[in-house]
């Protein structure tokens, strides 16, 4: 759980309080806190003077606007056809073994969430993953281990 009042006001001052500012504000909260709490969505609704249901409606539509608790680093493994053909399963297996969680789960220290996602546009360099917004491509289990080790030390 996190306190969000100041951040919402800060984001609303930056992006404005019109309805079209809703997405950038929600994206800004996820950027800082990894996911949207009910409290955060209510706070945004108050700030933009719209119903909380509207905020929830928009938030729940978009895959990257998570409304479930997520870790500091959200790993999204592409599962679309080329990545799937080029070794996605081994990548998932490596991540699950290393982080001791299954797809859809978050580590108990709230550092990592492991998710699958649809095509992220790196088919020519498959398999690929996103960690937050950063893409990693042409992966092998060995490369994945190195990348995650780096994140663990951050």
């Amino acid at each position: 759980m996190y306190q969000v009042g100041n951040l919402v006001r800060e984001l609303a001052s930056k992006h404005g309080r019109a309805r079209e500012s809703l997405m950038p504000i929600l994206q800004g909260i996820v950027d800082r806190h990894n996911y949207l709490t009910d409290e955060a969505m209510v706070e945004v609704a108050k700030e933009l003077d719209i119903s909380a249901a509207e905020v929830y409606g928009t938030a729940s539509f978009y895959t990257f606007l998570d409304i479930q608790e997520r870790g500091k680093y959200v790993i999204r493994v592409c599962k679309t056809i080329t990545c799937s053909m080029k070794g996605k399963s081994e990548i998932i297996q490596t991540l699950e073994d290393m982080l001791k969680i299954k797809v859809g789960e978050t580590t108990s220290d709230k550092m990592f969430s492991l998710l699958e996602t649809n095509c992220i546009g790196w088919c020519h360099k498959a398999p690929a993953i996103l960690i937050n917004e950063i893409p990693y491509t042409e992966l092998t289990p060995e490369k994945v281990v190195e990348i995650i080790k780096d994140y663990m030390q951050k």
Binding site: F61, Y62, F64, T80, I81, M85, N118, C123
Partner: protein, 386 residues
């Protein structure tokens, strides 16, 4: 049939002097620009293939003084990654294309809708946008571009869903008509064009429509950037002249064992080996937004179809019943056939369902699920059943 074969072209990524091209465009009248684009035969490069000049003509004809140019950079079709490359290497040409569009239709504002998956590119793109704005101010032309970022929804590549998303709503497609040229983003007349289309516009203005029509065929003018992936020794991005056959494409990019090419991504068409020779890549044959996936004989086409259906079942916005329920039932249906829980003739019922979705779905997503479904089931029926 006589055709031109496979020719590599370097138009989209060719370096140009932005200021020179824009100065040329700004000296032209709105009508002259539209005339050039119409003459070039350019069709939208996102996949749907609507003539760009017509889109601009309709938007220009609208009386509303508030109009928008929107660049669709929500590249989400499985197997497509060329728009990222274009933005990465020649974003200034995309901005330039937007400025030319704004002159043609009479707009002062442009919006680039960038998919959330490409957020890592934003700092660099904003920097280039800053230089672009400085240059445009120097010319004395009044135009501003801003970015909107998606958040992981394939459907937002559909133009009216994209407008909803810019407006802060759920990305659910609207009923059409009215079309975007009348009522687009913020319900104002809008010309929405793909990244590649806008970059191409720059080159048409630079070289002239006549030079551009030398490339391609009657129905598919010009060149196109292809995203090549799957079972190929040379995956990547290639600009090719339109009008080649799938066979010629496979000769260049195949691994010697290609059994099928999926042209146009999950919403496109599967071309089996026996049809490589007769199928032209373009609007006269199989249209494509640029996604070309090659599959060799080690691949199960059941797995390919299952992967696509899983994709659609997740990415359907859920608004209209034919698409929401249809995608789920197609997925369940092929699973049942594979497990032998139903007779193989059940596949015929599923094809009928896909055909119904084509007629009854509200937008292009539901309407095109049947493309891959029908072409994979018809050509690889045994692989789906056994």
């Amino acid at each position: 049939m006589k055709n031109k074969g496979l020719n590599k072209v370097d138009l989209i990524f060719e370096k140009v002097n932005l200021r020179e091209v824009l100065t040329k465009a700004f000296r032209m009248s709105s009508e002259e620009i539209i005339e050039q684009i119409l003459e070039s035969g350019l069709k939208g490069r996102g996949g749907a293939g609507f003539p760009t000049g017509l889109k601009w003509k309709y938007t220009a004809a609208e009386k509303n003084p508030e109009k928008y140019v929107v660049c669709n950079a929500d590249e989400g079709e499985p197997g497509t990654f060329k728009d990222r490359e274009i933005l990465d290497r020649v974003a200034y040409k995309v901005y330039g294309g937007m400025a030319i569009a704004s002159k043609a239709i009479g707009a002062k504002y442009g919006i680039v809708y960038l998919r959330g998956e490409y957020r890592f590119m934003l700092p660099q793109l904003m920097k280039e946008l800053g230089s672009f704005h400085k240059m445009i101010d120097d010319t004395g032309y009044d135009f501003r571009i801003r970015y909107c970022l998606g958040s992981g929804a394939y459907i937002c590549g559909e133009e009216s869903a994209l407008f909803e998303s810019i407006q802060g709503d759920r990305g659910e497609p609207r009923n059409k008509p009215p079309y975007p040229t009348t009522s687009g983003v913020f319900y104002k007349p809008t010309s929405i064009n793909n990244v590649e289309t806008l970059a191409t516009v720059m080159m048409i203005i630079k070289h002239g429509a006549e030079a551009y029509t030398q490339l391609g065929t009657k129905d598919s003018r010009g060149s196109k950037v292809f995203s090549v992936s799957g079972d190929t020794p040379t995956p990547g991005i290639f600009e090719l002249e339109l009008g080649m056959t799938v066979q010629q494409f496979v000769n260049e990019f195949g691994d010697g064992d290609t059994k099928a090419v999926q042209v146009g991504g999950a919403s496109g068409f599967c071309v089996p080996r026996k049809k490589f020779n007769e199928t032209i890549i373009g609007f006269e044959g199989v249209p494509t937004g640029g996604s070309m996936k090659l599959f060799n004989s080690s691949r199960s086409m059941y797995n390919v179809l299952h992967n696509y259906l899983d994709f659609f079942a997740e990415e359907s916005c859920g608004q209209c019943t034919p698409c929401r329920v249809g995608c789920q039932q197609l997925l369940k249906g092929v699973q049942k056939v594979k497990k032998g829980e139903v007779k193989s003739t059940y596949l015929n019922e599923l094809v009928k369902l896909a055909d119904t979705m084509k007629i009854a779905s509200k937008c292009g997503l539901g309407q095109s699920v049947g493309n891959a479904f029908r072409t994979i089931v018809e050509n690889f029926r045994e692989e789906i059943i056994y």
